[in-house]
């Protein structure tokens, strides 16, 4: 890893020295101090363990009815995709995207040592390392390693971005610090309104302190995050307004995706975004909960797609939705489902070979202690994305070679530099 490259960084997001470091195509455009557009991956984390069997339903499997006597979705309500698989009834908007070829999913995804623990499974998915244990620190996430390895320093504080108040482990990097933004409109340092004359001096001093060198250690980490903060403040002042036509639900997920579309349309150098949506740990009375969760996901993603398409950038944004595990196929006595194993990954965007699914239809007659068996290692999805979407060698990020699943539409011309 190039340990010195990033030390140049972030002398104010719009600094000029970057031209020595970045390839031409990534240089900011002359207009508005923005950066040239590139491919973006948006990770949607469905935290808690989504009940795959009731989301991407293998409805033709006779075991579906016998193992789900009360939770099984009535046949007439299932949104059928073909003669074997269908969506949960709350996913009509995703069904439309699927039919338009903008959406795909991958069945039976997991890893060999899936152990039904939320925390270990979330960590393994995010680090792409199944030797991950709880006592390790300084661990990098797979997308953070991707950023460290491949994203040139273009002087943007928003190269990688987490929506909300937390940086996902998946974006943890040694060099590329992710920004965390919840609300762009309020993202600025406030000073005491009773002493308006002092605000400028206050902000200048604080910036200067955060810009000063520190020896390595915790203080330096705090300092670097502070520099990101000041850089993000500058950049977020330049983003375009929120969409007035795309209809987002007024949910955390809807608001987050709306903000992501603004940031991406602003060409601020953003290449990877993480948004997490919780509540999928449906141990009891899950019918309504699960329906509400997927209504939100379906409507939010559909609005996001419309928003991106209207802004002319849906060809360079891919969404990957995942959950740490699927749930037990047999329902429990609480009208819910317990922790399970293999799950399903969702893919959305113009760059996807959509309108189809990858991996076999889950076989409910051939289970692993009551759970779906893993057929596809989750890292082959990452590998396919790094190779075919970002156009980079996955090996330095993943350390091992994984099968290419072929879900990226490589036939599409590479639209580097094209604007709306």
């Amino acid at each position: 890893m190039q340990s010195t490259r990033r030390t140049f960084l972030k002398t104010g997001a719009l600094g000029v020295s970057i031209s020595f470091l970045a390839p031409d195509f990534l240089l900011k455009s002359a207009m508005g101090g923005q950066f040239a557009p590139g491919k973006v991956l948006v990770i949607l984390q469905l935290a808690g363990g989504n009940d795959t069997v009731n989301t991407f339903i293998p409805y033709a499997d006779s075991k579906y009815r016998t193992l789900r006597p009360t939770l099984g979705i009535p046949d007439a309500q299932i949104l059928k995709l073909d003669d074997r698989m269908g969506f949960h009834p709350s996913m009509s908007k995703l069904q439309t995207l699927y039919q338009r070829g903008k959406l795909a999913f991958v069945n039976n995804v997991g890893f060999a040592s899936l152990d039904r623990s939320h925390f270990r499974c979330q960590d393994v998915w995010q680090t792409a390392d199944d030797s991950y244990g709880q006592t390790q620190r300084g661990i990098t996430g797979w997308l953070g390693r991707y950023a460290d390895t491949y994203l040139p320093d273009i002087g943007s504080s928003l190269t990688t971005l987490s929506i909300g108040s937390k940086i996902a482990l998946g974006l943890n990097a040694n060099e590329v610090i992710a920004a965390a933004v919840q609300n762009a409109a309020t993202f600025d340092v406030q000073t005491d309104s009773r002493y308006p004359g002092d605000g400028a001096s206050y902000k200048a001093t604080l910036r200067a302190i955060y810009d000063s060198a520190r020896p390595p250690g915790s203080l330096e980490v705090v300092q670097n995050n502070g520099k990101e903060m000041f850089g993000s403040i500058d950049l977020l002042k330049t983003i375009p307004a929120a969409s007035t036509t795309a209809i987002y639900p007024s949910s955390g997920l809807g608001n987050g995706l709306k903000l992501i579309a603004q940031v991406l349309a602003g060409d601020l150098g953003t290449q990877a975004v993480w948004i997490s949506n919780g509540g999928f740990d449906t141990h009891g009375a899950q019918l309504n909960t699960h329906a509400n969760l997927w209504t939100d996901v379906s409507e939010s993603l559909s609005a996001f797609y419309d928003d991106l398409a209207t802004r002319g950038i849906s060809d360079r944004v891919m969404v990957m939705g995942w959950s740490e595990f699927g749930r037990r196929v047999q329902e429990n006595a609480s009208a819910g489902t317990d922790h399970g194993k293999a799950g399903t990954v969702l893919l959305m965007g113009d760059g996807i070979k959509g309108g189809t699914f990858y991996g076999d239809v889950p076989n409910l007659n051939d289970l692993d202690a009551g759970d779906l068996k893993t057929q596809i290692d989750f890292r082959s999805i990452y590998s396919t994305i790094i190779s075919d979407w970002y156009g980079k060698d996955p090996l330095p990020v993943l350390n091992t070679s994984y099968a290419n699943l072929g879900f990226v539409n490589r036939a599409r011309p590479h639209v580097r530099g094209a604007r709306r």
Binding site: S157, D192, S201, V222, G284, A333
Partner: protein, 432 residues
């Protein structure tokens, strides 16, 4: 090794075992000596909290709302005359992490909080038994609907993975046995109390950690809490909370033994940690990162600000450490995970709001300073003592005045206020 007892170590003790000390508390603790100061903190039972109760009553909080109970807890952490009791209640809230997002009942959450406070330095095995019957927990981890035909594994599993043993110290068979042992432990909707439904309890034989028999929930707890792995989990967690994270194995084992010897009593464990050499080692002092709760409560306490806990609840929501609403059953993250561009901004802007209630005259009563440098040093000491590098100190002094003299009148008030805002926003003050 004997531990030098001075203002620096006393302030450190109060940052970790309380939520930061006021100038008066630090002076008192310095005078008490190490064991005196620690004993004063852990033996809090006789200390009256009447002043805090009065203060909280005056806030007129609506305890049927989530913000109401969050502010109630925040105000306790700020104003309690028994700060270690609140420190430990927060510790247990993180350990038995239960969230209003699912429980959806403020009264149950408050009841659980009071249970945690009653066991703050009590006996863990008894505590675990009562937590297993706690309404909020019965809802949170679904045990209220776990019956013998279809045991719900949620509580039975997390009890082992997170609350008692830790991953790697049990098998899937143990999880199944644990879940079966708690079948029939339910919640009566009428009385809003725990109820044991014998017809739904699995009385058949179970195999748990090699013990075979008709085990029930109480047996699971007594077997699990007798394991050394359990003692290691609690000792490591408490040590990390007070001293430093990622403790060495021999250190963990030493405190685990103290805990087991004390038959899962918490107080001897806490007292041993707070009086240990490790607690005052260079690895410990300023070696942790302030969590949002630390930053929010300490700034208010140390600056003697009269707070209604409203702005505090706002920043804790943004930063993701909202009382009664942990992100999941594993509780909140620690360390540098709390630091990012968004949380730093929220800390700075919280400090700005907080300081509208800051009174420099009250805070620095009896102290006379005549230069900008002396003013900077006064606040760095009162808010630490906070060691900063020469560059930072120089910039703070230049912020107060260009020529090193002390401004006068309204300009001095503005600069004092801005200076405190700046210190609370420094990289250095984000450490603990």
């Amino acid at each position: 090794m004997s531990i030098p007892w001075n203002e620096t170590n006393a302030a450190h003790l109060y940052r970790r075992a309380a939520f930061g000390g006021t100038p008066a508390e630090i002076a008192q603790a310095t005078g008490q000596g190490l064991t005196g100061a620690v004993d004063f903190l852990v033996n809090y039972q006789g200390i009256s909290n009447a002043a805090m109760d009065q203060k909280i009553t005056a806030l007129g909080l609506d305890l049927t709302t989530t913000q109401g109970i969050a502010r109630w807890f925040i105000a306790r952490m700020i104003y309690s005359a028994r700060p270690l009791e609140e420190r430990m209640t927060w510790f247990w809230h993180d350990h038995w992490a239960t969230a209003i997002s699912k429980v959806q009942d403020q009264e149950y959450m408050l009841r659980q909080n009071k249970l945690m406070r009653s066991y703050a330095v009590g006996n863990f095995a008894k505590f675990a038994l009562d937590m297993s019957k706690d309404p909020a927990m019965l809802i949170w981890l679904d045990n209220r609907s776990s019956v013998k035909e279809h045991p719900n594994e949620n509580y039975g599993r997390e009890l082992l993975e997170l609350f008692t043993l830790g991953q790697g110290h049990y098998s899937e068979l143990d999880v199944a046995s644990s879940a079966r042992a708690f079948t029939g432990w339910g919640l009566d909707r009428q009385t809003r109390m725990f109820i044991f439904r014998s017809t739904q309890h699995d009385y058949s034989s179970k195999d748990f950690l090699g013990r075979v028999g008709t085990l029930d929930g109480g047996d699971i707890i007594s077997i699990a809490t007798g394991e050394f792995a359990h003692a290691q989990l609690i000792a490591a967690k408490a040590f990390s909370y007070f001293a430093y994270e990622y403790p060495e194995q021999d250190v963990v084992d030493r405190f685990a033994q103290i805990y087991l010897d004390g038959k899962t009593e918490i107080k001897p464990l806490v007292r041993a940690i707070l009086t240990s050499d490790e607690m005052y080692s260079s690895k410990a002092i300023w070696g942790r990162v302030k969590s949002p709760i630390d930053h929010t409560i300490m700034s208010t306490r140390q600056l003697l600000i009269d707070s209604d806990a409203r702005a505090a609840s706002g920043t804790l929501s943004v930063q993701g450490e909202y009382p009664f609403n942990p992100p999941d059953v594993s509780g909140w993250p620690t360390g540098l995970t709390w630091i990012n561009s968004g949380t730093l901004l929220s800390r700075m802007n919280y400090a700005n709001t907080l300081l509208t209630g800051f009174d420099p005259v009250k805070f620095a009563a009896g102290v006379t300073v005549t230069t900008a440098a002396a003013l900077v040093d006064l606040y760095l000491t009162r808010l630490g003592p906070l060691p900063v590098d020469a560059n930072t100190r120089t910039r703070l002094i230049s912020y107060v005045s260009a020529d090193g003299s002390l401004p006068a009148g309204a300009a001095l008030t503005a600069k004092q206020r801005g200076l405190v805002h700046m210190i609370l926003s420094l990289p250095d003050w984000q450490l603990n």
